[in-house]
């Protein structure tokens, strides 16, 4: 039996043809003479072959562009989906404006809460004739600053590059969250999820092109966890998710956006219209059937939770249920949604 055990351990190497000739010969001779090991060998071979059924997937082409752009080999190439990049012509100006607003807020907060003197550096001095009159708050570029969201203006102007976004919920019981990011310095904004500044920042991050981390999907996960827990999502969060659904290139992220809209829907009644519009648009024109399927499910759930579905939404569901060239699952789900609607509101 010990022979059998030792030989069976070598069988995977026989499959990869990595046994030396002598061991291979010994193993084959044993398999021919031992019924139990012969069964084992046949089962292993079948398993090995079955593993071939997992197809090889081509990496998305945008991944190469992303990599080459990251190491400075080429510029990011535009795709057929509108990305979240700001317009290049206004990049430096808008970023400067955002720096002023965020740093200005921090200046205000700093003067209210601390007596520390900070030394101006050249790192955030703005250049160009249009902005020479603006006096940016002066902080060291290496400084890490924690700001209270209540002390900040909720308005974010332009589309500043923010990177290394981090989410922290240090104490889940205190009703406070923190969002850190790098702009010209590392900034962490802390406050209640319902603070307008926090809502605006999260909405902005969801729509930003953060090249390092986390991905937009992780941001959406965090938004869903935070606002499902607190139960008071701001309508702007739903609007930002709707924009992600419209503009995001990756279908997995679009699905996450729908799932999050779904989980927030009962708590964000006033957002019904933009959410519904985004879902209808996804159902109408998203190229991925899984996204369209999610959109149908979300619309059905909106209706069953008491939110009004307008005639356009119902027409779209009818159209999808009857569309011969639509994915079968989407058609079935659309028909089910219509059936649910007719039970809720029999005509």
């Amino acid at each position: 039996m010990s022979d059998c055990t030792a030989l069976r351990e070598s069988m995977p190497m026989l499959l990869t043809e990595s046994l030396d000739a002598a061991s291979r010969e010994t193993t084959h001779l044993h398999i021919e003479s031992c019924a139990a090991c012969s069964d084992e060998w046949n089962a292993l071979r079948e398993t090995w072959q079955l593993l071939d059924e997992v197809p090889v997937v081509e990496p998305p082409p945008r991944l190469k562009q992303r990599f080459l752009a990251e190491i400075g080999q080429v510029e990011t190439v535009a795709s057929n989906v509108v990305p979240f990049h700001r317009r290049p012509a206004t990049k430096w100006l808008t970023q400067a404006a955002a720096v002023v607003i965020i740093a200005g807020g921090s200046y205000f907060a700093g003067h209210r809460n601390t007596t520390n003197n900070v030394v101006p550096t050249h790192a955030n001095v703005l250049r160009g004739p249009e902005v020479t009159s603006i006096q940016p708050a002066a902080y060291s570029i290496a400084e890490t600053r924690t700001l209270n969201s209540k002390t900040l203006s909720p308005n974010i102007e332009g589309r500043p590059d923010i990177e290394n976004v981090q989410f922290v919920d240090a104490d889940p019981t205190d009703g406070q969250i923190s969002l850190g990011f790098d702009i010209t310095q590392h900034v962490t904004v802390s406050g209640a999820p319902s603070d307008k500044s926090m809502v605006r920042l999260l909405s902005y991050v969801m729509q930003s092109e953060d090249r390092v981390s986390p991905s937009r999907a992780r941001t959406i996960d965090w938004v869903r966890d935070t606002y499902t827990k607190t139960g008071n999502a701001d309508p702007e969060i739903a609007q930002a998710l709707a924009k992600v659904l419209r503009n995001e290139q990756h279908e997995g992220v679009r699905i996450k956006a729908i799932d999050t809209l779904n989980s927030l829907a009962p708590k964000v009644a006033v957002t019904a219209e933009p959410t519904r519009d985004a879902l209808i648009e996804a159902l109408k024109s998203d190229p991925n059937p899984a996204v369209r399927l999610k959109a149908v499910e979300a619309l059905a759930r909106m209706a069953s939770s008491g939110q009004q579905l307008d005639p356009e939404s119902i027409d779209m569901l009818r159209q999808k249920a009857n569309q011969n060239d639509e994915n079968l699952y989407v058609r079935v789900k659309a028909a089910e949604a219509l059936s649910t609607l007719s039970k809720i509101r029999p005509e």
Partner: protein
């Protein structure tokens, strides 16, 4: 660039010239992406892994030893990334759903065969996820990347004996999940959780 060996390309990169990046990416991105995808069962994470592995390769090119195989080095970085990803407990549950996101079936294949293939694919992916990360890493590198046990040992930071045991145990688990442990060889579609 296509006529240059991996080592020659890496020497150029080590000299501060990133122009071979595209060629190296073309040679290895498919393998790296598919390894990460099968390891993590999450397409977004696999994209992040691929991106970060190649960026790291360029930025730390000097750590590559000229006589080593580039594939072994790249898989080491990838396996490390995937292990770190799984260590973060909140990532464990983020597997991508497979339903309906696959490509349409080839037209020369019968619908029955397509359905069977998709069922098998889903079953195998679930079976792979049921393995320990160490076993999964070993079987993916052995079965799908064709690496030797010595190379896998180098990537996984363990002995060849440990790799042998991991592959054996992985195959035993997969066999039980995918193929009935009898001579009949009927599929056991309900064996997995």
């Amino acid at each position: 660039m296509k006529h240059l060996s991996d080592q020659e390309l890496m020497r150029i990169v080590q000299g501060g010239d990133f122009s071979p990046a595209s060629e190296i990416y073309d040679r290895y991105s498919g393998r790296i992406y598919n390894f990460a995808l099968r390891f993590l069962k999450n397409a977004e994470a696999a994209e992040d892994a691929t991106q970060e592995v190649f960026v790291k390769m360029m930025k730390h090119a000097n750590q590559f030893q000229g006589d080593a195989k580039l594939s072994t080095w790249l898989f080491s970085i990838t396996a490390n990334w995937c292990r770190d990803y799984l260590r973060k407990s909140d990532n464990k549950a983020k597997e991508t759903e497979d339903v309906l996101v696959q490509l349409p079936a080839p037209s020369d294949q019968s619908p029955d065969r397509t359905l069977e293939q998709r069922e098998n694919e889903a079953l195998i992916k679930r079976a792979l996820q049921a393995l320990t990360p160490e076993q999964r890493e070993a079987i993916l590198l052995s079965r799908y990347q064709g690496l030797s046990y010595a190379e896998i040992a180098q990537i996984s930071g363990c002995s060849e004996g440990a790799v042998k045991t991991r592959v054996f145990r992985a195959m035993e688990t997969l066999k039980k999940a995918l193929v009935m442990d009898t001579r009949g060889g009927d599929r056991c579609l309900t064996a997995l959780p």
